[in-house]
């Protein structure tokens, strides 16, 4: 009987290798990929014009195609919020709840595995690879808290860990698994060469925006402004776009940095009032929060500062409310020294 494994596929090299190693042992493998809303790929590519020139691909789909496996992408946006708001094991360097995230994903993969008659789960984890979520003492936590127990096999470092059920039952040959550990990427690169894998995505710190310092600052700011931990899909997408400037606790501006972002922000004009320079070429800005007439003038001066008219005595802007009613404002652009650096998120 051919055994079936479901692999957590992130799109990076490690999960790709893990799948290869298990495929080589005659196991049928399919991939599963979770969309949390914070995933790095896609969004920014679609928004920023200069990113559009780069070859665009969804790494998880690409990896699956290289490996010849099916890939199931699961939308976990809603359920994932709880992981981000209340991680039992806390956050990493930024707002990344990596250990809780891993546990959650393995738990979801377990549900999928059971629903589809698969036998076990594999991941590309390596002991000691990441400071918190992939330590020798935290790997068992993932197994315990997710409920997967010894049906979770990590082919790249299995030899450093107690034998799992698939190994004990002889579904896979432990001798042909690996003993990678630590932060070095050399063993992975060597194994990639062995499998003639030449093209793969380079892991840059983490697999999601929550490991990004700037992003986490903006998310923490959003929570402060909203009076608690909460977000909607639109919120977390907007945090990836534009300059975020908060001149007062109760409102912030999201100012486009280039054309692509401007076009993207236009789609939100029904949700947020907006400002757009008209006398000079310039950005589109959304206003998140209630503003007084005086604050609106300040907002307009800030936006004018980022337009071609930044040195002009006066810039004309169009203010548009969420219903589409417009009016014109004329303001002197804010001089650089009046732009408080603390406003910049």
């Amino acid at each position: 009987m051919q055994r079936k494994a479901v692999a957590l596929v992130s799109g990076g090299l490690d999960s790709m290798l893990a799948v290869k190693v298990i495929q080589e042992q005659g196991i049928h493998v399919e991939g599963i990929n979770f969309f949390t809303g914070f995933c790095v790929e896609g969004h920014t590519h679609a928004i920023r014009k200069r990113d559009r020139k780069k070859p665009k691909r969804n790494n998880a789909l690409w990896v699956a195609e290289q490996l010849g496996i099916k890939l199931h992408i699961i939308d976990i946006v809603e359920e994932y919020k709880e992981v981000v708001f209340n991680p039992k094991y806390g956050y990493g360097a930024h707002l990344n709840p990596c250990l809780d995230c891993k546990i959650f994903m393995v738990k979801k993969a377990k549900e999928w595995m059971e629903a589809h008659g698969f036998d076990f789960i594999i991941t590309g984890e390596v002991v000691g690879q990441r400071p918190k979520s992939q330590r020798k003492d935290t790997l068992p936590v993932v197994q315990r808290d997710s409920g997967i127990g010894d049906l979770l096999l990590r082919p790249l470092c299995a030899k450093n860990l107690p034998p799992t059920l698939p190994e004990r039952e002889g579904w896979v040959d432990r001798e042909r698994l690996y003993d990678f550990s630590g932060r070095s990427r050399k063993p992975q690169m060597a194994l990639a060469r062995k499998f003639s894998i030449e093209d793969y995505a380079q892991p840059a710190g983490g697999c999601c925006f929550l490991t990004d310092e700037q992003y986490s600052v903006k998310l923490a700011d959003l929570w402060r402004a909203r009076g608690g931990k909460q977000y909607e899909m639109d919120d977390i997408m907007l945090l990836k776009v534009g300059r975020h400037i908060r001149p007062a606790p109760h409102f912030k501006l999201i100012v486009s940095r280039e054309e692509g972002e401007g076009r993207f922000l236009q789609g939100y004009r029904g949700r947020y009032p907006s400002l757009k320079t008209v006398s000079h070429a310039g950005p589109l800005a959304l206003i998140d929060g209630e503003v007084s007439e005086e604050e609106l003038a300040l907002a307009a001066r800030i936006v004018a500062r980022y337009s071609q008219g930044k040195n002009a005595p006066e810039v004309e802007l169009e203010y548009r409310d969420t219903e589409g009613n417009t009016r014109t404002l004329k303001v002197p652009p804010l001089p650089p020294h009046e732009l408080n650096p603390e406003w910049m998120l």
Binding site: G42, H45, A46, N58, L61, K70, L71, I73, D75, M237
Partner: protein, 83 residues
């Protein structure tokens, strides 16, 4: 084709969704359809033009057409026979 039923042609609105959401929508819709059925996904994220066909290749569905039309990205597919 499922139980001799006629081929369905459906349109899926994925406008304003960013990748990989259009792929997820297509995937979930295809799960409800039968082999031979056709689905046209309309997206505004250009990434859909790569990602939906990639997803189809992996999962054994046929891409009939993938093109840009008036600033929107259209991918037309035929559901494959694999489970």
């Amino acid at each position: 084709m499922a139980e001799g039923s006629a081929v369905t042609r459906e349109i899926l609105d994925c406008r304003r969704l960013l990748c990989p959401m259009p792929v997820i929508r297509v995937q979930d819709k295809v799960a409800e359809l039968h082999p031979g059925d056709e689905l046209e996904a309309i997206s505004t994220d250009p990434g859909a033009l790569n990602d939906i066909p990639a997803w189809c290749r992996i999962n054994g569905h046929q891409v009939l057409e993938a093109k840009e039309r008036d600033g929107e990205y259209i991918v037309r597919i035929r559901v494959g026979s694999e489970p």
